[in-house]
């Protein structure tokens, strides 16, 4: 990633933050100003999903190529996915406190992300339990593939088949986007900005892993 791109990301996300917080927001149900959480909570959940799927991809690449860098990429992506999942859970819980009256309600969305956090928490427990680097890479790659397969179910399927208090997803069951154009623009810009942060964080972690490998040789 060049420095021009990084400064562009800075300007981009700064503008997104200003518009997301200060721009007028249309009435969304009875949520009022609380609807602004959409600009931060959903992108965090989106990036965690992308990161978990990328961990699956790098896990599969390790199994195929047996190159240790893919194991580092898989664990980096899973760690970032876990961080963004925790961020989405915290922002969601704060919103739930004001909208539903309690931080935690065991709503299907809350339950599914909680289970995902446990699944990826176990991934790191597994990694720390195996001393041999090769054995650890093999086991955790297989685990990241199995864990990644469950992600679409917990994010897209489970919350839709069980009765939930959670507001409708952006693309609802009828396949249409029901959102004001300005809101949609800010939301999509935030989604792109969060994805950019993930890409940069991933880039940093992989470069650190490469330096450590170089030092080890």
């Amino acid at each position: 990633m060049s420095y021009v791109l990084k400064y562009f990301l800075f300007v981009w996300l700064t503008a997104v933050i200003i518009f997301a917080i200060a721009a007028p927001i249309p009435a969304v149900g009875d949520m009022g100003e609380r609807a602004r959480i959409l600009y931060f909570h959903v992108p965090a959940a989106w990036v965690s999903t992308v990161a978990f799927i990328m961990a699956l991809f790098y896990g599969a690449m390790y199994i195929k190529k047996r190159d240790i860098i893919y194991d580092h990429k898989a664990s980096s992506s899973a760690a970032l996915g876990l961080m963004f999942a925790v961020l989405a859970t915290i922002t969601g819980a704060i919103w739930a406190r004001f909208e539903w009256g309690a931080f935690w309600n065991w709503d299907p969305r809350q339950t599914s992300i909680f289970v995902l956090i446990l699944i990826y928490g176990a991934y790191f427990a597994l990694r720390s339990a195996v001393e041999s680097e090769e054995q650890r890479a093999k086991l955790s790659s297989v685990y990241s593939i199995l864990a990644g397969i469950t992600v679409p179910f917990f994010i897209f399927v489970f919350p839709r088949i069980v009765e939930s208090l959670h507001p409708d997803p952006i693309v609802n069951s009828s396949g249409k986007v029901k959102m004001n154009t300005n809101m949609l623009l800010i939301f999509l810009s935030s989604l792109a900005g969060f994805t950019g942060i993930y890409a940069w964080m991933m880039n940093l972690r992989v470069r650190i892993a490469k330096l450590k490998l170089r030092e080890g040789n």
Partner: protein, 40 residues
């Protein structure tokens, strides 16, 4: 209390911007350090 209520948008905006700017420059400094080591 009235001050917080009236200026709530700007307070939240300020805190979020401070957090984002802090995170950005922290990541930028880490990036530069890594680049320096990579060149060595």
């Amino acid at each position: 209390m009235d001050f917080i209520w009236i200026n709530q948008t700007f307070i939240v905006l300020g805190i979020t911007l401070i957090l984002w700017i802090g995170l950005f420059f922290y990541m930028l400094s880490v990036d530069m350090k890594i680049k320096k080591i990579e060149k060595e």
